[in-house]
Amino acid sequence: MIPEISHLLTILAAGLFLFSFLVILSSNALSSNDSIIRLSLNCFNAATIFLISAFILYVYLAVMDDFSVKYIAMHSNSDLPIFYKISSIWSSHEGSMFLWILFLSIWLWLFVNRLDTQSNLFRYVIFFSAMVLLFFLLFLLVTSSPFERILPLAPINGGDINPVLQDPALVIHPPMLYLGYVGFAVPFVYICAYLADGEFRQGWETIIQKWSLYAWAFLTLGIGLGSWWAYYELGWGGYWFWDPVENVALMPWLAATAFTHSIHASTKSGVLKSWTLFLGLSVFILSLFGAFIVRSGIIDSVHSFANDPQRGLTLLLITGVIALISFGLFSFRSTKIVNSRLVVSGSKESFLSLNNILMITSVFSVFLGVIYPLITQYFYSTKVSIGPPYYNTIFAPLIFIAACFIALSVESKWQRKWKVTETLSKLGIPILISCFLTFIVQSLHQYSVSLIQMIGLFSGIFIISIYAFKLLMNSVNREFINWSSAVSHLGFGLLLFSIAGNSIFSYEKNLKLNVNEEYISEELEISFDDLSLQDESNHQRIIAQINMKIHDKVISFSPEKRKYFTRGQVTSETDIEATFLRDIYINIGEQLDDGSWTFRVQFNYLIKWIWFSVLLMILGILIRSRAMV
């Protein structure tokens, strides 16, 4: 019964969004009839409440192990701890789409209820919000219903989720990411409304700026958590694989980063308005494009859901219609938008506008990397694969130019031409410091650091030293400092630094050892002291006891292998010794014929710093949004 109630509530929600949409459509656009708008808003609110209740009921079903629901039977299991039962809802296509739509409706609901109902734009905001929600609810109900049941005989137990996906990071990674993706629906519907209204009043940027910053924070956190999971659970010491689905998350992130910068320039000095509108629309369209790529199954990746071309075609249609409506509005209305000022060359705005161009270039580069294999496959019948070398080569120069623009825009002023000598003199010390440090690293590493690594290292240190210098000036003679900009750009600099440092310093060793055997090299000694067997309730464990002597310090490790009885799956439990600078990983392999065991020892430098710097960037953005009322 409960599955039907949940299903019915979702259908009712779709019906109410449709009604809310139609009410606005049929009302006379010229007379802003208050009662009509009230009616439409009430429908919208009721629909959202229905949708939230439907989802809560669905969570209840998952927690209570109702395996008569096909989706739950396929993806959950009664032995799972409760939070994995809940997270099994977003472990596959139908349920995750449900969550995605739920978040979309909550964001828009919060936004709509904070807007002034008397505002001219209000009716349009409701109109576009209800339209987007209606499209996706119909998609869910018609092509990917999570409510299907297996009746009359429900399975006794469910099919379980893949053990690789049973990880705390993965419980929160999709929700955070979705909150980010659909959060950009708020600026999207507002910009559509603004363009449709056509009166172009001033001050629209401030209404959506804070929302965009929150959405950016969620998106960044979501991507960061995904990368963290890849490192810990996949255990290859990697944090980013340039997987197609990582790329389609990176595209909206890059566009969103450009958008948050551009909207800042628009609010501050009334320039780059068309850019801001265009970027605001693009972020959400790119998010939808990402959903299409992941869910259509045209590109294979660890993230893709079951292949279903029909579903892909429907999503393409929805994304296409939304993109054409919004970009159509933009191309026909934005001719009338007048910037209140012109961009002075050499001012802060001018560097921010160059930053927009740079960000769009990188979005395009990633886009090309994603679709190029498809182009060659379907038009030239040859298969190419685009991997890290392509992206590293493309991104290194872009990042270097970005670092230079960051430096110049920090030292320049709003609406004023830059004084070349003054700016350069301020940048002199950071440039010297970063050249010097890059050179030191190069010489420590016997001049084997590649050009790309050097560019990354230099850019990172350059950005850090600029802001470090700023902080110093602030504490010494109370010079003005923009804290949010300083913190988030320090985060960005640190991110570049740790990525470059990680690729320069990290290394691994593969060892073959017998019990009581030792491996001795110049810098470390490893001894394999003991091997023990233990039986647990659902698995068997083989635990190795390893002692490592490095720099006169002895560290003990106990990596394990586990064999699970039910699935027969063997997993390796890595043991990690984490210090400030590096992680030491030990992974136990297989027993060889001569009785010895293989081990993989990895030294991952600065890896924790990567996620720390992501948190810094988020912190910077939160400081900014706290400052706005």
Binding site: F241, I298, V302, S304, A306, T571, G589
Partner: protein, 166 residues
């Protein structure tokens, strides 16, 4: 903005939509075509240094699974292949464009679902088979390839296209 430039904002999305609609329609055709291809001739080393040719597997029913240690999806697919192996389905691995040591380590770390694994470093057999990437799974029945699946093999795909042969 100049009046003609603005059409770019419509033309770009339209061409992207048309492109993907074409890609989807093509991939649909690909998925639904039943195959009837002869296994191409080959002679390659396996990961345990034996030699294998098409004649060795010309009778009987096998799955050929294209995999590589660099392939993340193969890691996700792995438990399902182990399930199949435990049910007695013979699987031949086609280790695709991979470093031999990495491949051997991968099998040691995660347990091998394969009877044997061909080491196709240069992707020659894969090219003849028309492999587009890893993972991919082919069904070989008495020397004839009758099914092909691109991407992760899971229980649904298995029931739909493969289970009837075993």
């Amino acid at each position: 903005m100049k009046s003609k430039i603005r059409y770019i904002f419509l033309l770009v999305p339209i061409s992207i939509i048309v492109f993907f609609a074409y890609v989807i329609s093509q991939s649909q055709n690909e998925a639904s075509q039943p195959l009837n291809l002869e296994l191409p001739e080959f002679q390659l080393q396996t990961l345990d240094d034996k030699t294998l040719s098409e004649k060795d597997i010309s009778s009987g029913t096998y799955l050929i699974n294209v995999w590589a240690s660099w392939c993340i999806t193969c890691r996700v697919e792995h438990p399902f292949l182990i399930d199949l192996k435990d049910k007695g389905v013979p699987i031949i691995g086609l280790n695709y464009k991979d470093n031999k040591d990495d491949a051997i380590n991968w099998l040691k770390n995660f347990k091998s679902p394969y009877e044997i694994s061909i080491h196709d470093f240069y992707g020659t057999l894969a090219l003849d088979l028309g492999v587009t990437g890893a993972p991919e799974t082919y069904l070989l029945k008495d020397g004839i390839i009758v099914r092909r699946h691109i991407g992760e093999l899971n229980i649904e795909k298995w029931r739909q296209d493969f289970a009837e042969f075993f």
